[in-house]
């Protein structure tokens, strides 16, 4: 049992970070406002969670100007996708073993 729990990614145990990764797994790019809308949380809260993901190189950040307005866009990285897949696999394994 210990080894199975060991596969879980500490970074992705947070509900919000897991949600961000789930959204980015199925969307090539996501703009900050859309992300915030989906998650229904405050700016500060989202920013700190994304900073963690960025530090781990799970997401990449790009800034673009649409007209004069800067828009931040997020994508999942290769590392991020692998971590996400492994985390989901570990969750599935946990469920199978607890039955």
């Amino acid at each position: 049992m210990k080894t199975i729990i060991g596969d879980l990614d500490k970074v992705l145990e947070s509900r919000i970070r897991l949600a961000v990764m789930s959204i980015l797994a199925v969307n090539d790019v996501m703009e900050y406002p859309a992300l915030k809308d989906l998650l229904d949380i405050t700016d500060g809260n989202l920013a700190s969670h994304i900073a963690v993901l960025e530090r781990r190189k799970y997401v990449s950040v790009r800034k673009r100007f649409i007209g004069r307005k800067p828009v931040t866009m997020y994508s999942i990285t290769h590392t991020g996708r692998r971590a996400f897949t492994m985390h989901v696999d570990a969750l599935e394994k946990l469920i199978r073993h607890s039955r």
Binding site: E13, R15, L18, S22, I23, V26, M30, D37, L38, S98
Partner: protein, 196 residues
């Protein structure tokens, strides 16, 4: 910080987030198919009026036909989109819907006004092609919020529009192909790929 301890709950969360954020949600293939069928019926009616009925002035008939097709196609799109959203348990009116409408309506309004000007200037034969052209532009503009396939569909509509403008005598054929047949093919592809 909120952490999830139950793995089943975590997986359910992942599922919800993926479904709610997915771009394809607001787009139903059935809406495309029904819009295509409506357009074909409208085109057949127009063909009958222009080439078979010998009526002296087809303007009113064509106008009513166009409004009828537009109304039916939009009504079908709203119906199928709402049904799809309800089945998936997500709101039909979301930020994405707003972006989609915004990027669709701006080019479409410009095209609509342009068509009125053409009609006013006596270039009624060009209107069919121009509607295709602007519809194509609107689709390309919107494709970033929907499926990537929409982009190619938009290019196809644009090219058909240009052909219709280049050969105004045959505009109805291009129009029926672009708004009718292409919608049905596109709707079937989307339906098979995302909704089955």
């Amino acid at each position: 910080m909120e952490t999830i301890h139950d793995p089943a709950e975590a997986l359910a969360d992942i599922r919800t987030m993926m479904a709610r954020s997915s771009k394809f949600l607001s787009l139903s293939g059935l809406a495309g198919i029904s819009a295509g069928i409506t357009a074909l019926i409208g085109a057949a009616a127009a063909y009958w009026e222009l080439y078979a009925s010998n009526s002296p002035d087809p303007t009113l008939f064509m106008l009513l036909d166009a409004i009828g097709v537009l109304f039916c196609a939009v009504a079908c799109a709203v119906f199928f989109t709402r049904r799809m959203a309800r089945n998936l348990g997500i709101p039909a009116w979301s930020n994405t819907t707003k972006y989609i409408l915004d990027s669709l309506l701006v080019p479409l309004c410009a095209g609509g006004i342009f068509c009125l000007l053409l009609w006013n200037g006596g270039y009624a034969l060009l209107i069919g092609g121009v509607t295709l052209l602007f519809y194509g532009v609107a689709l390309i503009n919107t494709s970033k919020f929907i499926a990537p396939e929409v982009r190619y569909f938009g290019f196809l509509e644009m090219v058909l529009g240009l052909f219709a403008i280049a050969a105004p005598a045959n505009w109805l054929i291009f129009w029926a192909f672009g708004f009718g047949a292409a919608h049905i093919v596109y709707g079937s592809v989307v339906f098979a790929k995302y909704e089955k």
